[in-house]
């Protein structure tokens, strides 16, 4: 028997907007001017909010938080392709995308000040809370995909987000396998930002790309410039359309970069060089998008200034509102532990309130 080739396993990479904001006409996904401006605003809002949160943290007004600076295009581009009825199953580095899903600026302030109250988006029940246990959200996305199939929900998909490091977890591979076996409407979107805290991609995996991992699961897969919102949008649009059409899961590797600290507790000078960061600064997702809008003659400095002011005012108002003194119900954890009334829990609530009175309010 002659040796035969099993498959060519083709894998493509694309970029729509280059670093200078020049568009590849053949790949233009054709968003309207209004949509382009919406996407731009979402990225700027994400950036400005991220910067403000970091400042608040450094001033001691917030606890430890992850920083999303530089990764705005990856989640905003994807959310641009989603409807409210699609499920958003994220990790913690998708601030722009979450704000676009309707999250209020106060939500992250609540979460990063230790309050569960910030976890759900009132207007968007199909946006799951941030997932801190890495990759644990990915199988959940597959289960949601299964529920969509079972309930025969039309034109509904799940988009799940995770980092490069998270693809080393069993949960990632197990979820990919389930998704392809079950043929569920799920889009796997990996934000490859080169680092998992101090661990560089090279130590994380011997694979040349992350996108190629999907080939093993027989899943359509593509690698895109993750700092190019239009490329991420296009790849997600196509993946969601396949999901809507009943063609099952898809994979997208968005190549981006973590420009700042992993979280505010991290010190990147211990493990990476400034030139690498400087090189990536040239590929900033917002700068190139703005240049593109300028070339299209739908944007100028005046509009930019107005937008920045509007967004900063919005953030300032949110901070002010958030910092208004208010009492968060001390015994709220007792309200949500079970869906049924449990005697022992109610007994402990009484004990808690007694102790709270003595210890906290000095009663």
């Amino acid at each position: 028997m002659p040796v035969s080739t099993i498959g060519p396993f083709k894998l493509e990479y694309f970029q729509v907007l280059n670093e200078k904001g020049e568009i590849d006409k053949k790949l233009d996904p054709g968003l309207s001017n209004e949509e382009l401006l919406k996407l731009y605003r979402a990225m700027v809002l994400g950036r400005e909010t991220d910067e403000r949160l970091l400042k608040l943290q450094r001033q001691g007004r917030l606890g430890t938080l992850p920083v999303c600076f530089g990764q705005e295009a990856a989640s905003a581009g994807a959310v641009m392709a989603m409807k409210d009825s699609d499920w958003f199953v994220g990790a913690y580095r998708e601030l722009s995308g979450r704000l676009m899903r309707g999250e209020s600026i106060e939500n992250p302030m609540l979460i990063y000040n230790g309050l569960e109250e910030g976890n759900m988006i009132k207007t968007s029940p199909r946006t799951l809370p941030i997932a801190i246990v890495l990759a644990s959200q990915i199988p959940q996305a597959v289960g949601l995909g299964y529920s969509i199939k079972m309930k025969q929900e039309k034109d509904t998909a799940v988009v799940t987000f995770f980092g490069d490091g998270s693809t080393s977890e069993g949960d990632f591979h197990e979820a990919m396998n389930f998704a392809s076996v079950w043929k569920v409407p799920v889009v796997f979107l990996c934000q490859n930002n080169s680092w998992a805290i101090s661990t560089p991609l090279k130590k994380q995996m011997a694979s040349e790309t992350i996108a190629q991992k999907a080939i093993a699961y027989n899943m359509p897969s593509v690698q895109v410039d993750g700092n190019d919102a239009l490329a991420v949008y296009k790849a997600t649009r196509e993946a969601i359309d396949r999901a809507y059409a009943g063609e099952g899961p898809s994979f997208i590797e968005a190549v981006t970069y973590r420009m700042n600290v992993h979280t505010t507790a991290d010190d990147p000078t211990k493990y990476r060089k400034d030139d690498e960061v400087a090189m990536w600064a040239e590929k900033d997702p917002i700068t190139r998008f703005r240049a593109y809008l300028g070339k299209k003659k739908i944007w100028n400095d005046e509009k930019e200034d107005a937008l920045r002011k509007e967004i900063r005012d919005e953030i300032a108002a949110a901070v002010k509102n958030y910092e208004e003194p208010r009492q968060y119900k001390p015994d709220a954890p007792f309200d949500f532990i079970y869906g049924t009334e449990v005697e022992a829990i109610e007994e402990q609530r009484a004990e808690f309130l007694e102790n709270f009175k003595k210890d906290v309010t000095n009663g």
Partner: protein, 326 residues
């Protein structure tokens, strides 16, 4: 003699054991170049290179599973799980293999390894960074679970754990990583696993705790002693499993009263077992019911509410006084 905080003491123990024994290595997420997110493995990468200070890919189950293989193969891995909140992902390998290999092979194959992990609350961290779930590990027969409560104890118990012939879960109370310093002698000290230590002798009541709660309890006791002149016997449990029943029972026989303070949720926590031991071995000596103080039976709240839920100084004091007044 050096005055070290707990992180420095742990770091020191790792340096000492790696220098002495070529088969000892550290592995885990960010333990190499970065020296660990709390800097517990700082300097090991420089000193012993990447083969003995391994930045692993991001997969807890594989860290545990490969460590088991290494241990069977004659190495002594000291694995780090970045936070105990991610250690549930090691449970399959721990229970199915690390815990059972000795029994399964009738002693032919052993798994001498250590898994270190910071645990516990009070540092204003994100979700999954503040739990005390020692019970999960303590209920894994064949595995030893150790919790140090001071720098000197951390250094000696970690060395003891590395030299122990069994898999050891070494839980580090991160609230007191840098809370205080203690004299750590230059000479080697090898902590004995499975032994509680009496930190302070007394006759009126036995108070038992471990980890960060012990630190808090100690302060509460000092004020009680000063204000009221009680004679309190304080026991640092140190090893959650296997538990030192003798030290517990002997102390309670002497004092007739006991309070247990744990950071873990109340139901089925180590305190429940301590009370069962007292019931078995010292019931007739009791002059008051044994009290246990712990976190309520809830999901650990995020940090805004955290300190209302972790046993407070006031709760500890009141429990001791109520038991004394009974």
């Amino acid at each position: 003699m050096a005055k070290l905080n707990m992180i420095q003491a742990i770091n020191r123990a790792l340096h000492e054991e790696m220098a002495k024994d070529d088969s000892v290595l550290v592995m885990g997420q960010d333990v190499g170049v970065n020296g660990g997110v709390f800097r517990a493995t700082d300097g090991l990468y420089k000193e012993y290179g990447e083969d003995r200070s391994i930045d692993t890919p991001l997969a807890e189950s594989a860290i545990m599973g490969t460590a088991i293989g290494m241990a069977i193969g004659g190495l002594k891995p000291v694995a780090e799980i970045q936070f105990s909140g991610f250690a549930y992902l090691i449970m399959g390998q721990l229970e199915a293999n690390a815990a059972r290999m000795r029994t399964r092979s009738r002693g032919a194959l052993t798994v001498p390894l250590v898994v270190r992990m910071p645990y516990g609350g009070g540092i204003r961290a994100l979700e999954h960074h503040s739990e005390s779930k020692e019970t999960y590990f303590a209920h894994t027969q064949g595995v030893k679970t150790v919790i140090p409560s001071s720098p000197r104890a951390a250094r000696s118990l970690l060395i003891g754990a590395i030299r122990d012939p069994d898999p050891v879960i070494f839980m580090e109370p991160k609230f007191i990583y840098r809370a205080f310093r203690e004299d750590v002698p230059d000479e080697e000290e090898v902590g004995e696993l499975g032994k509680a230590r009496i930190l302070q002798e007394g006759n009126d009541i036995t108070v038992i705790s471990w980890g960060a709660m012990l630190y808090r309890t100690r302060k509460a006791i000092e004020t009680l002693k000063e204000e009221k002149g009680y004679s309190i016997e304080l026991i640092d449990l140190q090893t959650i499993a296997p538990m030192d029943a003798t030290t517990i029972a002997e102390s309670v026989k002497k004092t007739g009263r006991c309070v247990v303070i744990q950071e873990a949720q109340k139901t089925l926590g180590p305190a429940s077992e301590i009370i069962a031991i007292i019931n078995d071995k010292a019931l007739m000596y009791l002059e008051a019911p044994v009290k246990r103080i712990g976190m309520y039976d809830l999901v650990m709240p995020y940090f805004h509410r955290e300190n209302w839920y972790i046993p407070s100084d006031g709760r500890i004091r009141r429990a001791i006084e109520e038991t004394l007044d009974f």
